[in-house]
């Protein structure tokens, strides 16, 4: 309990200090609860998520960093490894490949990498996975771009 709090506090200070180091990630801690974090990540360029800003919610367990944080998308996203309704993310480092050496910041980077490189063979979003698996790249990209426009971009007017 104390260890996780101390570690999160360290990470918090690191985030404050390095605020400008990674312009794609904006990690914010909940004012009243150090175990709740949110992050805003930019969709990587040359992907259908380009131009979108996606919100992630972190729920950190007391065993952190020995156990991984729970992360989900708050912004709707069309991606094979993200549950379309709940935003749950299927990513090995958030499950059994977790290492205590990861930080919340590096988890965000891993999620951005996942957005750029979807893993169609273990889909949480079957529609999206099937499009990719059947080779319909255009279909997948246009769907993903549409949802990016609808959900992840500031409304104009």
């Amino acid at each position: 309990m104390q260890a996780s709090r101390a570690r999160l506090f360290k990470e918090y200070k690191e985030v404050q200090r390095e605020k400008t180091a990674d312009p794609d990630i904006q990690l914010v801690c909940d004012d009243s609860n150090i175990f709740k974090w949110t992050a805003l990540v930019k969709g990587p360029s040359e992907t259908p998520y380009d131009g979108g800003v996606f919100q992630l919610a972190f729920s950190v367990p007391e065993q952190y960093p020995l156990q991984p944080p729970q992360v989900r998308f708050l912004t709707k996203i069309f991606h094979p490894n993200v549950h379309f309704k709940t935003g749950e993310i299927c990513l090995d480092i958030l499950k059994n490949a977790w290492s205590p050496a990861w930080t919340l910041q590096s988890v965000c980077r891993a999620i951005i990498a996942l957005m750029a490189h979807p893993e169609a063979d273990s889909p949480l979003n079957c529609d999206s996975g099937n499009l990719l698996r059947s080779g319909d790249i255009r279909g997948y990209q246009s769907m993903a771009r549409m949802y990016t426009r609808l959900a992840a971009m500031p409304k104009k007017g």
């Binding site: 260890a3 360290k10 960093p65 020995l66 156990q67 480092i93 290492s99 205590p100 050496a101």
Partner: protein
């Protein structure tokens, strides 16, 4: 069946008291070394000894430390041969990498003595050099973080493979470090960790299994070469090593599972009931129709319509049950009922015989006591006949043959039925094979019954000549049934199961001397009691005493013959055709 195991000893301790300890010792060591598939009992105490040899082999060959060897063995499921094969095939680096063993080139693993401080990558704190630990993989974190990590993993039940905390590092942590760090904070967890590591030898090893006794005797059994065998634990339980249920050869494990399930839910009976009866609308007992009229009355007095199952009085009257249209399905129903009836009769045929032999087996094992009395009576008589071990040997031959016979019925039920091998053979082939098998089964059956009958006689009142006659009979029949059992197994293994193309069924091989009793490991063979039991059993499994009686001129004292035959017994376990403990003339005669 367990009770036979334990009561063996009573008989034998009375019979074989004359054996002195020295000879037993000698025979015992002979026992362990000369057998092909010798089973070992692994007790809680000898668990470490049991894995020592495997560890030692790996440590010597690869010049490793023990914990590295254990990590390798756990990863390769204690299959030393496979481990060596991978070493030859893929090389040392690959072998180690797959198992998560990393060995740094530099010997200076112990960096905890360095005085400078360092930053722990997990808690992101500056820690004194004395408070950090560097694993074999070279990753260095503070002791608190390591400890927390280990505790989490042990609690998750992953003791056997605790990885380094660094990202993408698959190295398995040094068990000594884990033990040291965890025991400082949680001695009970460290103990649990140690137990997990030790028991991996049983859990992860296909050649070692826990004894299935309830309540658990605490032992595990290790077999050497063949998983398909039947063993007896030192707690007395006899079981099939492959499926851990009671010994059932010549049934395959699959057949036995199906059979016990079938017997348990009596599915055929249920089948019959659903087809042939209807529940009485009043008392709900199943009612079978025995006449032509569709107005049926239950023994409870309620009359009802057979066609729709409705009670009279409401839907119908005594005078009229007209107005039904169920007749159009009649033909189909008839077919269904015929099939159900045929299947049930087939099942009943096999089940009745299986049951009959099992029952005989139970009854004959009660004979044990009376036979013991009779032998005692004979021994008390002043006669030149002294050795009556042929009686007990014959009796054990009867038990073993009876067992094989009873399990041959469920075997036949599945072998020649439609459930398992419908596509394996044509009907003609099946018929030929079935005849072949049934001929052998029948011969065995006849001889087993003869042998059984001999023991019914009140032979303790016999004259000497009559006893000599009986002894000849018992010996002859023993050899015959043994041979026939062997033949039946051969037929099953080669002609029947061996010929299958689409499925593979394995059975425990025929053991002429009965189910092999697992011996204590060399390291654990320290108690005298255990030794004695093993030796008594060892003698039980020979026909040692009989040699002397066939040759009244004598080939020495009974002690000698018993001992020498014991030595040969073990080599025989591979399953040669004749009982090697009997002289050739006797075998030729049959």
């Amino acid at each position: 069946m367990e009770d036979y195991g334990s009561s063996d000893e009573d008989i034998y301790s009375s019979d074989q008291e004359s054996y002195d300890g020295l000879e037993n010792e000698e025979a015992d060591s002979q026992w362990g070394s000369s057998t092909g598939n010798s089973c070992k009992v692994i007790t809680r105490e000898s668990l470490l000894v049991a894995q020592r040899e495997d560890l030692r082999r790996v440590m010597d060959l690869l010049s490793l430390r023990e914990h590295h060897a254990r990590t390798l063995l756990i990863h390769y499921r204690w299959d030393v041969e496979r481990l060596f094969a991978i070493l030859v095939e893929k090389g040392k680096t690959c072998l180690f990498a797959e198992a998560g063993v990393t060995i740094l080139e530099e010997v200076d693993v112990d960096s905890s003595v360095s005085s400078s401080t360092m930053m722990c990558g997990i808690c992101i704190e500056e820690v004194a050099g004395s408070e950090v630990t560097k694993m074999d993989c070279g990753h260095c974190f503070c002791n608190d973080c390591w400890t927390e990590h280990f505790i989490v993993k042990i609690k998750e039940g992953q003791s056997k493979r605790i990885r380094c905390m660094a990202h993408k590092c698959f190295a398995i942590c040094d068990e000594a470090v884990i033990r040291k760090l965890v025991s400082k904070r949680h001695p009970d967890l460290a103990e649990k960790f140690d137990r997990f590591l030790l028991e991996s030898y049983i859990e992860d090893n296909k050649m070692v299994k826990w004894c299935p006794s309830i309540p658990h005797c605490g032992n595990a059994i290790r077999v050497e070469t063949d998983e398909f065998c039947e063993v007896e634990c030192s707690c007395g339980l006899q079981f099939c090593f492959s499926c851990l249920s009671e010994a059932h050869s010549p049934c395959s494990c699959w057949m036995w599972e199906l059979w016990t399930k079938k017997c348990r839910d009596e599915s055929e009976t249920v089948n019959w009931i659903t087809v042939h009866t209807k529940p009485c609308p009043k008392c709900h007992k199943p009612v079978e129709k025995n006449g032509g009229c569709n107005l049926v009355s239950c023994i409870c007095g309620q009359a009802f319509c057979w066609l729709c199952g409705g009670a009279t009085g409401r839907d119908h009257t005594w005078s009229s049950i007209a107005g039904h249209s169920c007749g159009r399905y009649k033909e189909d129903q008839e077919k269904k009922s015929e099939r159900a009836k045929r299947d049930l009769y087939r099942y009943m045929h096999y089940h009745n015989r299986y049951k009959a032999h099992t029952d005989s087996f139970t009854q004959e094992s009660r004979l044990r006591e009376t036979i013991k009395e009779k032998v005692a009576n004979l021994e008390s008589r002043d006669s030149r006949l002294r050795d009556f071990s042929w009686v007990t040997n014959g009796l054990y031959r009867l038990f073993r043959s009876r067992r094989a016979l009873s399990f041959s019925y469920p075997f036949a039920f599945y072998m020649f039925g439609d459930d398992l091998f419908k596509d394996e053979m044509t009907n003609e082939e099946k018929e030929i094979k079935q005849h072949l098998f049934e001929d052998q089964q029948q011969q065995l059956e006849a001889n087993v019954e003869k042998l059984s009958k001999v023991f019914e006689d009140p032979f303790d009142g016999f004259e000497e000549t009559e006893i000599m006659d009986m002894r000849m009979q018992v010996l002859n029949l023993s050899v015959v049934t043994d041979t026939l059992c062997k033949k039946m197994y051969e037929c099953i293994e080669t002609d029947l199961l061996g010929a299958l193309q689409f499925s593979s069924h394995n059975i425990a091989p025929y053991q002429s001397k009965g189910i092999e009793r697992a011996t204590e490991l060399n390291g654990g063979r320290n108690t005298k009691a255990n030794n004695n039991i093993t030796c008594q059993k060892a003698h039980d499994q020979t026909n040692g005493g009989s040699i002397e009686l066939v040759h009244p001129s004598g080939c020495g004292t009974s002690d000698e013959s018993g001992c020498s035959s014991r030595k040969r017994t073990r080599k025989d376990s591979g399953g040669s055709f004749f009982d090697l403990n009997l002289p050739a003339e006797l075998i030729d005669r049959n």
